[in-house]
Amino acid sequence: MKRHLLSAADLTRDDAELVLETAAELRSLADRPIKKLPALRGRTVVNLFFEDSTRTRISFEAAAKRLSADVINFAAKGSSVSKGESLKDTALTLEAMGADAVVIRHGASGAPHRLANSGWVRSSVVNAGDGTHEHPTQALLDAFTLWRHLGEERKGGLEGRRVAIVGDILHSRVARSNALLLKTLGVDVTLVGPPTLLPVGVESWGVETSYDLDAVIPKVDAVMMLRVQRERMQGGFFPTPREYSRRYGLDGRRMATLQDHTIVMHPGPMVRGMEITADVADSDRSVIVEQVTNGVAVRMAVLYLLLGGSESESTE
């Protein structure tokens, strides 16, 4: 593993599988009387959130605390982020406090990159979502969930499994990280959405693309629905929410065309009735709640693997 987790592309297949295996061990912690391990005792993890995201923040906080790390939550939203200095100044503050890891959520693509490579801090940097770029721990927890359902008892793990990622690919950091990571794990990924929401150059990502949800979903082993953000509904990317739902929403009728073993995923928060209907979200194909549970184990694995050992490669 590299010293930072900035992009799902930072992970080799061995790295990714190590995270999944470690997460599998750590998941059993939830069943033990003392849900705590001493691995990060005396280490400080800072949750630096420039955007609201209670669920991701809580997930990282629980993960760090279960590994006995000290956790500092730093919500920087509302400060003069647009001016730009605040990332650097905040980073210098964290450095002065002796953070061993900074978990950063930021609205600007590449902000975690800057934090890791600008010389502002010496700590490990974990990208908890940056702009429209990446969200690698979400991809890891999605991969972990897929693996538990579709790969754990199978030779080759997830190799050759098919996953459709559906919706606003253009603005989705979840889609980017998942496309990279799942490809690393040998999964066949198909990105599905209206042409206006597929990024330029997507053909070079090494994944399939389609504009036709109905044609894709009967063939896949998992369907991952992405949230359609409210501001996109006004952006002219599609004519109306109704037309979007009709063409790219997952409803009961479409769900009926899935194979028996196919699971339905969503990174949350869902816009019920928009990209997914309530009956689908609450069906027994849905592993949406489990994704949240797995999030803690996966983030524990990431923090442990980044911080648990020596910092042999890092020099000042």
Partner: protein, 433 residues
């Protein structure tokens, strides 16, 4: 009386070694084995003499952003780059949209004395793209403005652009367009490409530049005026300009040094030192720009020298300012990308970095050939030198050079402005001001 200078064994435009005697602000004599009583002798063996460089596109930031650059520091950087004249862009604060502001900038340039400063006037009031600025008043002012530009903003309203092109005909002006369709580039951060999709940075499509250039060429032909296209950055733009020229339309174009050497791959570092408007493009675009500059489709190299204080670059990409320094490295990059690559000879460099920009800007005293009787505006350049660029060594007040740590060929050894050195022995000549 100024001290006469005798430049010994200098190669004019890279030709055979000869001597140049500079006296009373003009080139007094050219010939082998010259001698002159009381003249300072500059041993210039191996150095190339070029007419003093002229930049049609410089941001001096004064008035308003004196923390980034002043007329004095900007012209010092210009002199170090071999420039004897620069055109100061209008996006200052206040905007150079009245005779008063352009005269102030012009006067500051005279006082600094490192190079002549020709203010560019804004096309529209406050660069807002709504109403024409008093172009005539600026043209008639002491600054004698001939180049008008909203640079930093595109004059996107086609009717307003048409009117501007028509209006400047009255005083032989030119509209220098920053070609960027605003709607197609909302929130844009970098060249739209496979990479922008991967990096999650909003894309800046080539068509946003090309569509405006195509429209403006048509407007220019229609009203019979003169258009200059700022910082052409895409292969498609080169093709459109080439076509307009073939049709005989009065269109000129510039390319920036950074667009001749750097590509959008650098955005993958997320280091905003590489954030610039227009953005760095693909390697194919770089190739097309070089070819266009070589065949004359692109008339000139202009620096788009854009100083920014440290804090405006030491942040995340989206929050950072657009722009990079250019004056002190322009000639080295042209040597590296064009001359050393066999695409351009030194006469071609003189045409594209001195004569042509002076002609487009209607600057009479600059861009003249190195010939007896002409103003002694001369840059002496050592093409055999190599230097490693250090941001901290810049004469500019700002440090945002994208070339820090790069080894580039060539160095300006001396710059003469009307017979007086502004740079000598590769250093600013402190007797200048």
């Amino acid at each position: 009386m100024t001290t006469p200078y005798l430049l010994k064994n200098v190669r004019i435009l890279g030709g055979e070694p000869t001597d140049i005697l500079i006296k009373d602000g003009v080139i007094a004599e050219i010939g082998v084995g010259l001698s002159a009583e009381g003249a300072e002798v500059v041993e210039a063996e191996g150095l190339i003499a070029l007419p003093g460089l002229v930049d049609l596109h410089t941001h001096l930031r004064e008035p308003g952003r004196e923390d980034a650059e002043t007329v004095e520091t900007g012209t010092r950087a210009a002199a170090m780059g071999g420039f004897t004249a620069v055109h100061a862009m209008a996006n200052t604060n206040p905007v150079a949209d009245t005779a008063g502001v352009v005269e102030q900038v012009w006067r500051l340039g005279r006082e600094a004395g490192y190079c002549d400063v020709y203010p560019v006037g804004a096309v529209t009031v406050g660069l807002k793209g709504e109403q024409l600025a008093e172009l005539g008043a600026m043209a008639d002012s002491a600054a004698r403005v001939r180049v008008f530009s909203d640079d930093g903003h595109c004059v996107s309203d086609p009717l307003l652009m048409r009117r501007a092109l028509e209006y400047v005909k009255a005083f032989d002006g030119v509209v220098a367009q920053h070609a960027q369709d605003p709607r197609l580039t909302e929130g844009a951060q970098m060249n739209e490409s496979e990479l922008s999709g991967r990096l999650g940075l909003a894309g800046w499509p080539a068509v946003a530049e090309e569509a405006i250039i195509a429209r403006d060429c048509l407007l220019t032909a229609h009203v019979g005026s003169r258009l200059h296209v700022c910082h052409v950055s895409t292969a498609g733009s080169v093709e459109i300009v080439r076509d307009a020229k073939r049709k005989g339309w009065n269109v000129t174009a510039e390319a920036c040094p950074h667009h001749l050497i750097l590509t959008d791959e650098l955005a993958a570092t997320y280091d905003p030192i590489y954030k610039v408007n227009p953005p760095l493009r693909s390697a194919a675009d770089v190739e097309a720009l070089r070819a266009g500059l070589a065949d004359g489709t692109i008339d000139i190299v202009a620096t788009d020298h854009a100083p920014h204080p440290h804090e405006d670059k030491d942040c995340e990409w989206a929050a950072a300012a657009f722009g990079m320094l250019g004056l002190e490295t322009a000639l080295s990059i042209v040597q590296h990308t064009m001359v050393d690559a066999g695409l351009l000879d030194w006469a071609g460099v003189a045409e594209r970095m001195s004569s042509a920009p002076a002609r487009i800007g209607r600057v009479a005293d600059h861009g003249q050939p190195i010939a007896v009787g002409n103003p002694a505006n001369i840059a002496l350049y050592d093409p055999a030198a190599t230097r490693t660029i250090e941001a901290s060594a810049s004469a500019s007040l700002s440090r945002n050079t994208p070339y820090a740590g790069m080894e580039l060929p060539g160095r300006i050894e001396a710059t003469f402005l009307r017979g007086r050195p502004t740079v000598l022995d590769g250093k600013l000549w402190e007797g200048t001001a």
